[in-house]
C-alpha cells in the first residue's frame, strides 16, 4: 500500500507521511545496489509487467532493474511490437496481460488517465510510469528522494520547475509531491507553456525565469518535448534557450547550495548548458541512481502483503 491505495497513479492525495514512508523504504533499498551481489529474495515469485506504449529507456530500465534486484520476474512489453498495432484496445490488451496473473503492471501511455482506467478494471496493482501530460509519480518521488538526501527537511525550500509545464507530467507530480513535503513550488516558462489554473495545484507562477530562480534551493529543468509539439508554443529553440536556458550566469542568482535536477533525457544547449548539466550543482545522475531504489520501494510496498505497515 502507498497512501491508502494498491496502486501508484499520481502523487495527489498522498500526505507527507505517505511520501516519507516510500522515501524511508527507498533509503533501505539503496544499500542493495551497492553490494557485490545486487539481489535480495524479497519479491521472489512475483511477476511484474512493464507495459510501455511510449518509447522509454530510463524509466523502463529502472523499473526492470528494480524488479530484478528484488528477485521479481520482470516482463517487458513494448507497443511497437505488440497487438495494439494490430488494432486491439488498451483494455483488451491489459485484460490479456492480466490473464497471465501479474502482481504489478507498470504502464506508460500517451493518453492522460489511462492508468486510472486500468486500475478500475484490473485486479493487480497499477503503477503509472507516465500518462500523457498528466503525472509521472515515480519520477516525482525520486526527485523528492534526491532532494531530501542532499537537503534533509524540505520544509520552506524554494523549488523551481522551469520549462514546458503544459506538457510535463513530471511537473505535475513534482508540484503535488514537493508541496506535500512542505516546499514552496514555483513554475516558470514562456506564457504559452504555463497552463491556466496551475496555481490550483499549489504552485506559484513566475513568468520571469530570473525572478523565479532568485534564491532557489532546487531547480528542476524540464525537457522541451518536441514529440509533444512543444515547438509550436515557442518561436524557436534558439530563442527558448536564450530566455529559459539554464547557464552559469543565471545559476549564480540561485542559492549557493542549489541543486539542479532534470528528469532526462537532456537537450544540451537548449534547456540546460553542458557546463551546468555536468557541473557541481547537477544531481542528474544521482536522480537516475536513486530512481532504482525508489522504484524498488514502490514495488515492495505494492506487492502483496496486507494493508498496514509496521516500523
Amino acid at each position: 500500500m502507498i497512501g491508502n491505495s494498491n496502486h501508484l497513479l499520481g502523487l495527489d492525495g498522498l500526505t507527507r507521511d505517505d511520501i516519507t514512508r516510500v522515501l524511508n523504504a527507498a533509503a533501505g533499498m539503496k544499500e542493495i545496489s551497492a553490494r557485490k551481489i545486487k539481489k535480495v529474495p524479497t519479491l521472489r515469485g512475483k511477476t511484474i509487467v512493464n507495459l510501455f506504449f511510449e518509447p522509454s529507456t530510463r524509466t523502463r530500465t529502472s523499473f526492470e532493474i528494480a524488479a530484478k534486484r528484488l528477485s521479481a520476474d520482470a516482463v517487458n512489453f513494448s507497443a511497437s511490437a505488440s497487438s495494439t498495432s494490430k488494432g486491439e484496445t488498451l483494455v483488451d490488451t491489459a485484460r490479456n496481460i492480466e490473464a497471465m496473473a501479474p502482481d504489478v503492471v507498470i504502464i506508460r501511455h500517451k493518453f492522460s488517465g489511462s492508468p486510472y482506467m486500468l486500475a478500475d478494471r484490473l485486479d493487480c496493482s497499477i503503477v503509472n510510469a507516465g500518462d500523457g501530460s498528466h503525472q509521472h509519480p515515480s519520477q516525482g518521488l525520486l526527485d523528492i528522494f534526491t532532494a531530501r538526501e542532499r537537503k534533509g527537511d524540505l520544509t520552506g525550500l524554494k523549488v523551481v520547475i522551469a520549462g514546458d509545464i503544459t506538457h510535463s507530467r513530471v511537473a505535475r507530480s513534482d508540484i503535488y509531491g514537493f508541496t506535500a513535503m512542505g516546499a514552496n513550488v514555483h513554475v516558470t516558462g514562456p506564457p504559452t507553456m504555463i497552463p491556466v489554473g496551475i496555481e490550483a495545484m499549489g504552485a506559484t507562477v513566475q513568468p520571469s525565469f530570473e525572478a523565479a530562480i532568485e534564491g532557489a534551493d532546487i531547480i528542476i529543468m524540464l525537457r522541451i518535448q518536441l514529440e509533444r509539439k512543444s515547438g509550436m508554443l515557442i518561436p524557436s529553440l534558439r530563442e527558448y534557450a536564450r530566455f529559459f536556458g539554464l547557464n552559469a550566469e543565471r545559476l549564480a542568482i540561485a542559492n549557493k547550495d542549489v541543486l539542479v535536477m532534470h528528469p532526462g533525457p537532456i537537450n544540451r544547449g537548449i534547456e540546460i548548458s553542458s557546463e551546468i548539466a555536468d557541473g557541481p550543482y547537477s544531481v542528474i545522475l544521482d536522480q537516475v541512481e536513486n530512481g532504482v531504489a525508489v522504484r524498488m520501494a514502490i514495488l515492495y510496498l505494492l506487492s502483496g502483503g496486507i494493508d498496514e505497515m509496521v516500523d
Binding site: 533501505g28 535480495v40 529474495p41 524479497t42 519479491l43 496486507i306 498496514e308 505497515m309 509496521v310
Partner: protein, 183 residues
C-alpha cells in the same frame, strides 16, 4: 490494552550479567577474539552487539568489529503480515573467512535467524556463523538453536517477550513478558 498483563523476568542487573557471560562464552568458544565479528539484527540486536563488544574490550583490550544486518528483504512472511520498514544494514567490510556471531534479542520461531543467515551469505562467505540471544523463549519452527543464551524462558505461544533497552529510549533495561489480548 484491555486484559494485558506484564511481568518482569529480568532486571537491568541480570541483563548486564547475562551479556557479560555471553561475551566470555564467545571468547571461550572461539579461543579469543581473533576473526570474530558481532552482527546485530535490528532492533535491538546492534545495541546488544555493542554491549557484548564493550565487555570483550574490557577483557581483551581490543574492539572486535560490529555490524548491523537488516533481514526485512529476506523474510518469508511478506504476504501475510504488515510490510516491515527496511532498516539500516551496515556490515564491517568483508566477512569472508570470519566468525560471525549473530546477536538477537529474543530467539522464538527461528525464522528471523533463517532470514539473517540468508542475508549474511549475500555479503560473503563466513567461516562459521554462531548465534547469541539474550532470551530463548522456545517454540522453534525451524531446526535452529543458539550457541549463547542469556536466559531460557518458557513461554506460552500467545505471550510476547519484550526486551527494553536504554539505547532505545527505555528508562531502565528490562525483559518482560506481556500477555496478548485475551479474546
Amino acid at each position: 490494552m484491555r486484559g494485558r498483563r506484564r511481568r518482569q523476568i529480568m532486571d537491568h542487573v541480570e541483563i548486564d550479567r547475562a551479556i557479560k557471560r555471553i561475551a566470555f562464552e564467545i571468547l571461550e568458544k572461539n579461543k579469543g577474539h581473533e576473526d570474530v565479528i558481532l552482527v546485530g539484527i535490528p532492533t535491538p540486536g546492534p545495541a546488544l552487539a555493542e554491549r557484548i563488544c564493550r565487555h570483550i574490550e574490557n577483557v581483551e583490550g581490543v574492539r572486535v568489529p560490529t555490524g548491523s544486518l537488516d533481514i526485512t528483504f529476506y523474510r518469508d512472511d511478506i504476504d501475510d503480515h504488515p510490510k516491515p520498514m527496511p532498516k539500516a544494514t551496515d556490515m564491517p567490510g568483508d566477512i569472508s573467512g570470519k566468525t560471525i556471531v549473530l546477536v538477537d534479542d529474543v530467539l522464538f520461531t527461528g525464522r528471523t535467524i533463517r532470514a539473517a543467515m540468508d542475508a549474511l551469505m549475500d555479503h560473503g562467505r563466513p567461516a562459521r556463523v554462531q548465534l547469541a540471544a539474550l532470551v530463548d523463549r522456545g517454540h522453534r519452527e525451524l531446526p535452529i538453536r543458539a550457541d549463547f543464551v542469556g536466559r531460557n524462558i518458557p513461554t506460552r505461544l500467545h505471550e510476547k517477550v519484550k526486551v527494553l533497552l536504554t539505547e532505545h529510549g527505555a528508562k531502565v533495561d528490562e525483559v518482560a513478558i506481556e500477555e496478548g489480548d485475551l479474546e
